[in-house]
Symmetry: none
Subunit: 217 residues, 4 copies
Amino acid sequence: MNNNLFNEILSAQSIKRTVKQQRIVDASIRLFSEKGYSNTSTAEIAKVAEVSEASIFKQYGTKDNLLLSLIVPYIKEFFPSLANEAMDQIISNADSTFEGFLRAFLKNRIEFITGNKEIFQVLIKEIIYKEELKKEFLPYFHEIVIPRITKFIALFKERGELIDIPIDKILKLLFTFISGFIVSHFVLLNKESISNEEVEDVICFVMDGIRKSSSDH
Amino acid sequence: MNNNLFNEILSAQSIKRTVKQQRIVDASIRLFSEKGYSNTSTAEIAKVAEVSEASIFKQYGTKDNLLLSLIVPYIKEFFPSLANEAMDQIISNADSTFEGFLRAFLKNRIEFITGNKEIFQVLIKEIIYKEELKKEFLPYFHEIVIPRITKFIALFKERGELIDIPIDKILKLLFTFISGFIVSHFVLLNKESISNEEVEDVICFVMDGIRKSSSDH
Amino acid sequence: MNNNLFNEILSAQSIKRTVKQQRIVDASIRLFSEKGYSNTSTAEIAKVAEVSEASIFKQYGTKDNLLLSLIVPYIKEFFPSLANEAMDQIISNADSTFEGFLRAFLKNRIEFITGNKEIFQVLIKEIIYKEELKKEFLPYFHEIVIPRITKFIALFKERGELIDIPIDKILKLLFTFISGFIVSHFVLLNKESISNEEVEDVICFVMDGIRKSSSDH
Amino acid sequence: MNNNLFNEILSAQSIKRTVKQQRIVDASIRLFSEKGYSNTSTAEIAKVAEVSEASIFKQYGTKDNLLLSLIVPYIKEFFPSLANEAMDQIISNADSTFEGFLRAFLKNRIEFITGNKEIFQVLIKEIIYKEELKKEFLPYFHEIVIPRITKFIALFKERGELIDIPIDKILKLLFTFISGFIVSHFVLLNKESISNEEVEDVICFVMDGIRKSSSDH
DNA sequence: GATGAATGAGTTTTCATTCAT
DNA sequence: CATGAATGAAAACTCATTCAT
C-alpha cells in the first residue's frame, strides 16, 4: 500500500511534472508547513525551489490556487482511502471487534499522515483560516467519512460491543478525541510518528476510559 | 466569580485604558480572531477602532507586540486561575471524586472561554504559527498546569479511582482529549458555548470509554 | 472668468491638497497626456512627482481611480460651465444670431481647453478605451449638453436662421464637425490653441459650407 | 471592387499565411480593436488564436512589430486606393461636380472602412499614442493624400464651384469634418456602417452649411 | 513551423512603521 | 495624547521575450 500522496496523484491524474514544477510543490509544502501560508512569500518559494516567481504564477495563477492545488487532492485522498483498502478486510475478518477496527484505522491513518506529515500540517493550519478550504473539506467529511464510520459503529453497536448512547454522540466523542490526539502530535508537538505503545494507550482509553474498573482489584 | 479577561487584567494590572485604547484592543481581538493575525493589517484595525494607525504604534510599538499584549496576559490568566479560585475548594469538598473534579474543571474552563471566546481563538490560531508564543506558553504549561493537574491525578489515583497506568500517560490522554474537544468546539466549529449535556457526555466518555461494560447487560 | 479646472475644483470642493499631493496630480496629467494611461507606470509618476509610490496609492487606492479622479471632475466641469456663464448672456443679447452664438461658444470652449490642454488630451485618449469613462461621460452629455444646445438650435431655427432639417440632424452634424475640429487640433496635432482666424473659418464653413454661393459672382 | 484589406494584401504581396498565422492576425486585430494594444497581452492573443505565444514571436519578433505588421499595410492601402481605382473615372465623368466627387469619395471610403472596421479602429486608437505610427502615417498623408485631394479641389475651384478661400483652408476644413464624422461613427459610436441618408446629410452640410439660404423662402 | 517551459524585469498594490505638528 | 502625511520594503502578479526540442 502506497500512502505517499503525490505518487498517488501522479499516477491517478497522470500529471507530468517537470523537475522545476516538482521543486515548486516541494518548496511550497515545506515552507507552508513551517511558517504558514500567510507568512510565506512567493519570492521565498521561488528561491527555495530555485525557479523564478514567474514560473510559479504561470502554473498556478495565484498563490491561493497554489495552496489549494496542494491541499485539495490531499483531502480527496485522505478520507476515501481509509476504507477502500484496509477497512473492508477488517470487518470481514473473523475476530473483528471494534477494538480491532479502531487499531487498524488508527495505524492506517497514522501511517498515511507520517508519509505526508508536512502537507497534513498545512491542511490543519490553514483549514482554521480559509472558509474556502472548509467548503472543500466539509462535504467530503459529511458525505464520505461520517457515513462510513457510522456504518462501522452501528455494526459493532448491534453486536453489543459499544455503550448504549446514540451513534452520533459516540462518533463525535471519538472524532474529537482521535483528531485531537493526532493533531496535537503531528501539528502542535511536530512529532515524526506515533508509537505502537501510544496507539495502544489511546485504544485503551477510548474503550474503557480512565476509571479503575471494579474487576481490576 | 468574574471570568472576563479584561476586567481581570484591568483590576490586576491597574492599567487605565482610554476609550480609544480600549477600542484598539477590541478591534484587534475581533479582527485577529476572524481573519488571523497575518491577514489583518494595522490599517484595518485603525479603521475599525476609529483611531489613527499612529495611535496603535504609539501604544504598542509594533504589530507583533500588539498581538503579544493581547495574548500573554490571557495565557497568564488562563491557567493559574483554574486553581487559585475554584479548584482548591473542590478537592477539600466532602464528596470529591475525580469525576466531580473533572466536572468542575470543565465547567470552569468552558465558562472562562465562553466569556472570552475571540481571544481564545486568537491564542489557538497563533500558537500554531508563532514560536515566540509557544515560548511564552510552554513554560506556563509545564510549570503551572502540569504540576497542578498531576497533583490532582495523583491524589485520585491514590484513592484508587483511576486506572493503573503512569500518571503522565493519564495526563497526556486527558489533555489531548479535553483540548481537542474544546478547540474543535470553540475554534473549528465556532460554537458559542458547550452545553451541560455535552459536558456530561465528555465526562462519561473520559471515565468509562465507549465499551459496553459487562455489568450493563 | 476662471477656466482653470483645478482652481475651480479646489474652490468648489474645498479639497486641500498638500504640495506632494498636487505634484502627484500634475505628474499624472502630464505623463498620461504624453504617453497614455496604460503606458505610464505608477513608479514613473512617483519619480516625476518626487513622492513615494505608496503616497499615490494611499490617496487614490488604485491607478484606475487616480485616472478617474483627474478626469471625472473635468468632465463635470467641462459641459455645465459652457452655459451658466457665457451662454445665457449671448442669447439675451440684442444682435444675437446663431453665428454669434457659435462664435461665443467656440471661443469659450477653446479658451477652457487651452487652459487645461493636457487633461483634455487624457480625456479624449482614454474615453476611447474605458467603458467606465464613457459611462461617466455620456449621461452628462445627454442630460446637459444636448438639451442645452438643442434649445439654442431650436430658438434660432424658429427665428428662421437655420436650414430646414430636423434639429437632431443639425446637432449631430455640428457636434461631429466641431468635436472633430477641436480634437484634431488639440490631440492629434497637439496645437497650443486655435487662432481667431481659424475660428472664423470654422464658423464660415459651418454656416455656409464650401459651395460658392450664387450671389458671390 | 474588393475592399477587404487582407484579400488585397494577400494578392498584392503574395504572402501565403498558414492557418495558424491567419488566426494570429485575426485574434490580434480583434483584441487590439476591443481593448487597445497596451491592454492586450501576447498571452491573450495566443489563447484566442489557439497558437503558442512562441509562434507569435517566431513570426513577428516583437509585439510592437505585430502591431505595425497589421497597420502599416492598411495605411498604405487606405489612401492610395482611393484614387487609382474609383476617383479617376469620377473626374472624367461627364456630369462631374464637386458634390459628385464628394459623394463617390465618401461612399468609397465608408465601404472600405466598413469591410475592415476593426483594423480601422486599431489604427485610430493607436495613432494617438504611437509616435512611431504617426511617422509611418504622416508621410503617406502629406505625399499622397494631400496632393491628390488638392488636385481635385483646385480643379473644382477653377470651375467656380467652390468658395473663394485658399485651397489649403478648404482642405483642412473638409478633412477635419469628414475625419471627425467617420471617426465618431466607427470608433466612438462603434457603428457598423453609415447610411446613404447620413452621407447625403454630410454632403449637404459640407456644401451649403446650416444657414437657411435666402432663396429657400 | 511549432511549442512547452522558463524567466528578467517590470507592474500594481500592500503594509508596518516613522515623524512633524 | 493624537494624528495626517509620508514612505521603504516587500508583497502578489504580469508580460514580452527566449530557447531547447
